[in-house]
Amino acid sequence: MTALLEVNDLHVFYGAIHALQGISFHMDEGEIVTLIGANGAGKSTTLKTISGLLRPRQGNILFQDRDLTKVSAPKIVSLGIVHVPEGRKIFAPLTVRENLEMGAYSRSDAKEIRASMQQVFASFPRLQERLSQPGGTLSGGEQQMLAMGRGLMANPKLLLLDEPSMGLAPLLVEEIFRIIVEINAQGTSILLVEQNAAMALSIADRAYVLETGTVALEGPAAELLENPQVKAAYLGR
């Protein structure tokens, strides 16, 4: 079986700053893979490069054997990769419904879009109650749900989640993670970037630890959870 996503030797620069210094990893269909690491290790940069917001100077990204490094960001979405950005980035003046519609921008079949919306409501019933409310008036947790629902509206094969738990009450974090597992169970592969390494490792299949733009460690999530190095640096126990 070929990998769903394969990242080979990725180098990315912000001006003169060498942010990614040769990152390689892969993920198979149906997996939850998580990238953990300190601030500045290059986790968000990796996601932005996969979704086409940043261009690598070297290396390639293969999605179902197709090279993404020359593909435009909107085209990547229509190929089936959706990136839910850090900090949710809700379109505040648009209503919840319009936000969801924007998620389905790359699709044109009205009937299927309606079906997707029903699916999103099944996962996030709270969104249905607030359909005509401007996105900016939702609470932090609801915004995260909207961001994820909006991502799902594109019917992705692969969902890139950047810090979904950021700034949420522990109570809500648990709910969000439960939903992530649920989405994965319905067949969407998930690449998860998390500050909250303990939570991320507890739901992931495999994990990569990034340090200063390179992959420092990799392995099954359960193993890393027990790794003394990881424990000391990222789990705080």
Binding site: A38, N39, G40, T137, S139, G140, G141, M166, G167, L168, A169, P170, L171, L172, V173, E174, Q195, N196, A198, M199, A232, A233, Y234, L235, G236
Partner: protein, 274 residues
Amino acid sequence: MSATVERPVVLNTEGLSKNFGGRVTASGYEGGLWAVRDFDVTVREGELVGLIGPNGAGKTTVFNMISGLISVTSGEVEFYGKKLVGRPAHAITQAGIGRTFQNIRLFPQLSVLDNVRIAYHSRAGYGLRDAIWQGTRFARKERELTERAQELLALFHLQDRQDEIGSNLPYGEQRRLEIARALAGEPKLLLLDEPAAGMNPREVHTLMDMIHFIRDKFKLTIVLIEHQMRVVMGICEWITVMDFGQVIARGTADEISNDPKVIEAYLGRQGRRV
């Protein structure tokens, strides 16, 4: 904690509230969103107080109101008994309240040294005329203030970086520079807004040591915001928990982590594990 009772009150807020988007009508505020409602806190000299809650709970809004960066809708802030509400931000800083920001706000295109020297501005000891003339008084005062800035930088291991541009520093150094800059204003009360954001547990640990160190060295009172319980548990003497703009609990770390209201609204059943 019986000794704390005699210490003087540094900061006291009463009914501090902030409404965004509401309109003044003859009968008070109408509509809008209450970001903070009736926030009360009392902080005594030398204490280290934690303010926790999820994003959007209103913690940063409280800081912004205390430091005068946004207007206060109602309520009062007292600093060593002096009323602060209505005074401009720079006057509040000069009165002795320093702060840092959640998403580090350095002066991005200025050198590290200038970042700190700006904070010494109100103590520069010369004015526009001296600056234009560049006489001996200017030279002397400028040297004094630069040397003080360099000493402060040395304290934070940044002295070799003085000519570097602020935004080119790595993340950890930016955090330290921001704290150094806040200390340059010689505050009595320091407000730290999520100083541990984006740090791994090991870094958080050293950061907490540093916070203890500066509190003792500069005889500070510190209030810090955090949304991870674990970070504040170890070092804060008192903790206030906020959610949806309101205080839902206050007490010592132990009291908070066993408070049923906090568990229900914030931590969750297994929350203490996280």
